[in-house]
């Protein structure tokens, strides 16, 4: 009964979405106040029904209702409760429902927190979001219903893919989807503004906190995914340039460009068409990501069940949404008044250069991701593009972007003074050079790329600090937005340090160890104390015991596992990590090796892989700093003060800009 209620709630939600996606838009165009007023209650009703449907599916998982096909294929009665709930979004159907839940959640937030928005603007925004909801709800109802029944019911479920049985599964997909779907708000703001024909500073101010919030979620989501891959996949990598990773990284790059471009549009009224285009692209890439993951056009480690029929549906939806909005853009963008002028040396030009670099970097990632598909489609053969391409193309594009981010905050709007810039710049350069030359000495091995990475990191640290000092000495107030920006920039530096030091100084050994054997790596000694059998709730595992010592002191007892999940029978590696700020000691247990063929825990020896990863935590700490910086920026008070267009007109700066442009 409960699954049917959920299914019915989805149908009602589709009906509401149809109303929300049409009547308010018609209402604005035809000036029908009753239709315009529909947008807000419709959005709130839609959220209620989608949330109810989601609750029904979660309940079916929680109560082990194996008469639901989705539950039977993705859960098991022995699965721990937290993972049973998380299994709700473990399948294609369930993750779509999560997508729509997030979308309606953002709609609810827009309808609640946008009291200051004019009614017709709000109606347009919610109307556009309603249309997106129509697409996804019909996709779900027509091709992939999560509530399909399985008759007769299965006795027990086929279990959740063991790779997904991890705390990461509980947090990573919801965060990532919040980010993905959050860009639909910026997108809807942009489309509403294009329809309205008024793209101005007020529009930018409205959409900034929403865009930043979405970006924060996406940043956390990607960082969590990377951290999860690091400890779960068993070989210590943290980023693989896998198509699915790229699918989430591309909107992040564009989203980063967008939040910077929005700043210019808000503060200086410039780059309006550029900002709108970025908002459209950011959400388009979220949709493209959904298509790539769900249609099976590319191979990936994220091997979800794929179905070409679904692919065609998403592709058509993609063509309508993105094609439609880009057509609207082509039609309307030329009517937008040009913004304020700026000199070559100005914060505007720095931000423009940065967003172009980010766009090009995103293009490079996209080319690498889709290149196998292009070649295949043209009949030129099958290839796969791997990390070497991405590393060699992406890094040179990001290096100038990081250099610009280091000094951007030091340059004044409109027209920077070279003399004023030069003084702090000297210090920044000196600090960066010292860091680049001397830090590698501490590690005892020098390489050109290591120095380049450290140079970038110290450059951005010093630049950020200089911007803080300059602001502190000046009369301008220290705002949360400004501090947030600096914190996020410092986060990039922390991230770059982590990446550089791990790439340059990580060490690893593959060993064959019998109980009692000792090996050394990087000043640590590892004693293998054997393997014993342990049972988890739904798996059996061989658990190794390794004692890590340094200078005779025991610093950690590590217990890497090799698990076999009872239902799906595939082996999983659970690495054991001794985490630290300056290094991680990472141990993974391989296969049993023995001549006798006995196998199991009484094997004579095991393969063991040991890594020492210096400063790897800094990668994720940096991401968290970026995200927290975004939180600070989005929470800035001025976004909460009701802003109206009249205020904008009375702002002398803005009128000056208009006149200057006319």
């Amino acid at each position: 009964m409960i699954p049917e209620l959920g299914h019915f709630a989805l149908i009602v939600a589709l009906a509401i979405a149809l109303v929300q996606g049409t009547l308010p838009l018609v209402g604005v165009a035809q000036r029908i106040p009753g239709f315009i007023a529909l947008a807000r209650p419709a959005a709130q009703g839609l959220f209620l029904f989608v949330a109810f449907a989601f609750g029904c599916l979660a309940w079916s998982f929680y109560s082990n209702d194996f008469s639901v096909l989705n539950v039977a294929t993705n859960s098991n009665s022995k699965l721990p409760t937290a993972y049973r709930i998380a299994a709700t979004w473990g399948s294609h159907e369930g993750s779509l429902l999560l997508w729509v839940l997030m979308l309606s959640g953002w709609m609810l937030a827009v309808s609640v927190f946008s009291r200051s928005l004019p009614q017709d603007m709000l109606a347009r925004i919610l109307g556009v979001m309603g249309l997106i909801a129509v697409g996804f709800l019909s996709f779900m109802l027509f091709t992939s219903s999560p509530f399909e029944r399985l008759l007769p019911a299965a006795a027990d479920g086929r279990d959740l893919n063991p790779l997904l049985q991890d705390p990461g599964m509980v947090f990573h997909p919801p965060m990532l989807y919040m980010g993905y779907v959050g860009f639909s708000v910026a997108f809807s703001f942009a489309i509403a503004a294009l329809l309205d024909g008024r793209l101005d500073a007020t529009w930018a101010r409205w959409s900034r906190p929403w865009t930043t919030a979405a970006w924060v979620f996406l940043t956390i989501g990607i960082a969590l995914g990377s951290f999860w891959a690091y400890y779960e996949l068993g070989w210590g990598g943290w980023w693989f340039w896998d198509p699915v990773e790229n699918a989430s990284f591309m909107p992040w790059l564009i989203g980063t460009a967008l939040i910077h471009s929005l700043a210019v549009t808000e503060k200086r009224g410039a780059f309006k068409t550029w900002t709108v285009l970025l908002a459209i692209i950011a959400f388009s890439l979220s949709l493209l990501g959904t298509f790539l993951v769900r249609s099976g056009v590319l191979t990936s480690v994220h091997a979800f069940a794929t179905d070409p029929k679904r692919g065609i549906f998403i592709l058509c939806f993609l063509a309508v949404v993105i094609g439609g909005s880009l057509s609207l853009y082509a039609w309307r963008a030329n009517r937008v008044a040009p913004g304020g002028r700026f000199e070559l040396l100005s914060r505007e030009s720095m931000l423009l250069a940065n967003s172009v670099l980010l766009l090009v970097a995103c293009g490079a990632v996209m080319l690498g991701t889709l290149y196998p598909l292009f070649l295949d489609a043209l009949g030129l053969g099958k290839i796969s593009v791997g990390p070497p391409y991405f590393d060699s193309v992406f890094m040179p594009l990001m290096a100038p972007a990081i250099l610009l981010a280091g000094i951007g905050p030091l340059v004044a709007w409109r027209r920077g003074e070279p003399a004023q810039l030069l003084r702090p710049l000297r210090w920044v350069a000196i600090v960066a050079l010292i860091g680049a030359l001397f830090v590698p000495l501490a590690f005892g091995r020098w390489a050109a790329l290591t120095s380049v990475g450290l140079l970038l990191a110290f450059w951005i640290f010093a630049g950020t600090l200089a911007a803080l000092v300059v602001r502190f000495r000046s009369t301008t107030r220290m705002t949360p937005a400004f501090l947030g920006m600096l914190l996020a920039h410092a986060g990039i530096g922390v991230f770059v340090i982590g990446v550089t030091l791990v790439k340059s100084y990580e060490t690893e050994r593959d060993l064959r160890m019998a109980p009692g054997d000792t090996a050394t790596l990087g000043g640590y000694s590892f004693r293998f104390d054997g393997v014993r059998e342990v049972r988890g709730p739904n798996y059996e595992a061989a658990r190794g015991a390794i004692t890590v010592q340094r200078d005779g002191q025991t610093i950690a007892q590590l217990a890497p596992e090799k698990r076999v999940y009872l239902v799906q029978r595939n082996p999983m590696t659970e690495a054991a990590i001794d985490a630290g700020i300056s290094r991680d000691v990472y141990v993974a247990l391989g296969d049993a090796v023995d001549a006798g063929g006995a196998g199991g825990t009484d094997a004579a020896a095991w393969t063991v892989r040991i890594h020492i990863k210096p400063f790897i935590r800094w990668i994720w700490i940096g991401c968290l700093m970026m995200a927290f910086g975004g939180v600070l920026a989005a929470s800035d008070r001025r976004y909460r003060i009701a802003t109206r267009r009249q205020e904008d007109a009375s702002n002398p700066d803005a009128t000056l800009l208009r006149r200057g442009a006319a």
Partner: protein
């Protein structure tokens, strides 16, 4: 207006490629082994560990070598198809039991049916390396001269069987 049309033009091109891509299968990786003699091996037979099998024993026949394991979930997907094929006697199917335990493998065959004339045991996966096994299941079509003619990565689907394997096998028999 023209410059604002560029994003749309690029997007239309992209959609074109994606549409074509939908009809292609990225998992269809051409194997360098297709057209080459099947790598030789000498392995014990699953049900009679004291007997050994070499591919040369199948000289003069067109046959399928199916890589399987009891821990492999996708193998269960294609298994009914293999059982049906063996009942009809379409093609001789031999199994390569890959990185598996003997007792698990035998129990699995008892449970799901045994479509194989015989299975050989590749316990440590060494022969799998020679054959370039990406993942289990994989299937090789080998002709009368012992040359690999076709390789399927992943489960055999009825479509692959009808459209690729069977026509090719018929042609090879002549």
């Amino acid at each position: 207006m023209k410059r604002f049309l560029w994003p749309l033009a690029i997007f239309i091109l992209l959609v074109g490629f994606l549409a074509v891509g939908l009809n292609l299968n990225p998992r269809e990786v051409p194997s360098p082994l297709v057209g080459k003699p099947a790598p030789a091996f000498d392995l014990p037979v699953l049900h009679q560990p004291d007997k050994r099998f070499v591919p040369a024993d199948m000289r003069g026949k067109v046959w399928l070598l199916n890589v399987w394991a009891s821990w492999c979930v996708s193998c269960r997907e294609e298994h009914p198809l293999l059982v049906e094929m063996s009942k009809k006697g379409v093609l001789p199917i031999l199994g390569l039991n890959y990185k598996d335990k003997g007792e698990d493998a035998q129990r699995w065959l008892k449970q799901f049916g045994n479509p194989y004339q015989l299975s050989v045991v590749d316990a440590d996966g060494r022969i799998g390396i020679d054959y370039g096994v990406y993942g289990v299941p994989e299937t090789y079509l080998i002709d009368a001269e012992g040359v690999i003619r076709f390789k399927q990565i992943g489960p055999i689907t009825p479509a692959v069987l009808e459209q690729k394997i069977l026509p090719l096998a018929m042609a090879l028999r002549k």
